[in-house]
């Protein structure tokens, strides 16, 4: 919107570029990459060509890559100086997301592993 401003310091997330061709190409490239990554995800999930225990981790990596594609090509989050505020907010959001998810999964997995025996198992009359 403020392409006339030579001192543009900030740009809003999702704001299209100024050039019609380059912004259309940006969306098409993003769509192509996202479709490719989605296709690879579905293929990886159904193939037997990959070592089984590694598939889940591979799918997570593909998902993170696709989220990056969406951020760059659809939301126009870049490393440019006019994007610093958007990137900092995103970085803080990602930090909280990882703290919540990894923290919860870590704690709950240990809790389940260390959970005491069930009441049936504690019934001493049943034990020899």
């Amino acid at each position: 919107m403020s392409q006339d401003d030579p001192e543009l310091l900030n740009v809003a997330p999702g704001e299209p570029h100024d050039n019609l061709l380059s912004e259309t190409i940006s969306y098409i490239v993003g769509l192509g990459l996202a479709l490719l990554l989605t296709g690879v995800s579905f293929w990886v999930a159904s193939t037997s060509a990959i070592w089984g225990p590694g598939i889940a981790m591979g799918l997570v990596v593909l998902a993170i890559a696709q989220m990056g594609v969406h951020l760059v090509f659809f939301l126009h989050i870049t490393t440019g100086p006019d994007n610093t505020n958007n990137v900092l907010a995103l970085a803080f959001g990602v930090l909280i997301v990882f703290l919540v998810m990894i923290g919860t999964i870590w704690i709950m997995a240990h809790l389940a592993a260390n959970m005491g025996p069930t009441p049936e198992m504690l019934n001493l009359q049943m034990q020899h």
Binding site: M1, S2, E7, L9, N10, V11, A12, P13, G14, E15, P16, L20, E23, T24, Y27, G30, L31, A34, L35, T38, S41, F42, A45, S46, G52, I55, A56, L59, V60, L62, A63, Q66, M67, H70, L71, F74, L75, N85, N86, A89, L90, F92, G93, I96, V97, V100, M101, G103, T104, I105, M108, A109
Partner: protein, 213 residues
């Protein structure tokens, strides 16, 4: 605002006090409003991370009921995924048309965006109805409670987005491309792209990893 007024509220470069807003004063509304909405979207993603963490903790707590790899249909999920991805792409095209104040193409692309979103939502509702009809409703097990909470919360966001798209089509039609309408459109596109990002995590964690052999 005259120069003396600007100095009085601390918006000028020459004044000795630092406003903390840079040398040009606050950014224009066309930057501040979408940035604030970006902060909301990020906090919405944090909300979803809590739902994801809950689902990951409870995914195997099936209480003897159906497990994830007995319930989910990957081909349906593939159609949902492509519909939402195309919807996100077309939303970008609508923003390109809106920036050039092209009424016809803005309306056409917004309609296609909403139609693809409706396809996604219809498939999701069909899936939910089918699961509930075979006794795999949210009250069956902790796994299914967390599944319906996570995926249902995303579906509720898509529903809200569809209503927002309809509202924006009407507002663009009635009010034209005024600055505040353009800002609302930009916020809508941020919201819609973010929903697709969350769906990437859902189809990977819930549907693909959940149906691994």
């Amino acid at each position: 605002m005259s120069a003396s007024e600007a100095a009085a509220v601390g918006l000028t470069h020459g004044a000795s006090e630092d406003t903390g807003l840079g040398h040009r004063g606050p950014e224009s509304k066309s930057i501040v409003v979408p940035y604030g909405f970006w902060l909301f979207v990020l906090s919405d993603i944090v909300l979803f991370s809590a739902l994801f963490a809950t689902y990951a903790s409870l995914a195997h707590a099936t209480d003897g009921g159906p497990a994830s790899n007995q319930l989910f249909d990957r081909s349906l999920v593939a159609i949902e995924t492509v519909a939402l991805l195309l919807s996100s792409f077309v939303c970008g095209l609508a923003m390109i048309a809106a920036k050039r104040r092209n009424m016809v193409w803005t309306q056409v692309w917004l309609f296609v965006t909403g139609a693809l979103g409706a396809v996604f939502l219809a498939i999701e509702l069909y899936e939910f109805a089918h699961m509930i009809s075979i006794g795999a409703g949210p009250q069956r097990s902790a796994f299914l409670s967390s599944f319906f909470t996570l995926v249902g919360c995303h579906g509720a966001h898509v529903t809200a987005g569809l209503m927002w798209i309809g509202t924006m089509m009407a507002q663009v039609w009635a009010k034209g491309f005024r600055p505040h309408i353009i800002r609302r459109l930009l916020c809508l596109s941020i919201f819609w792209h973010a929903l697709d990002i969350i769906w990437v995590a859902i189809f990977t964690i819930v549907y693909l990893i959940g149906t691994l052999p």
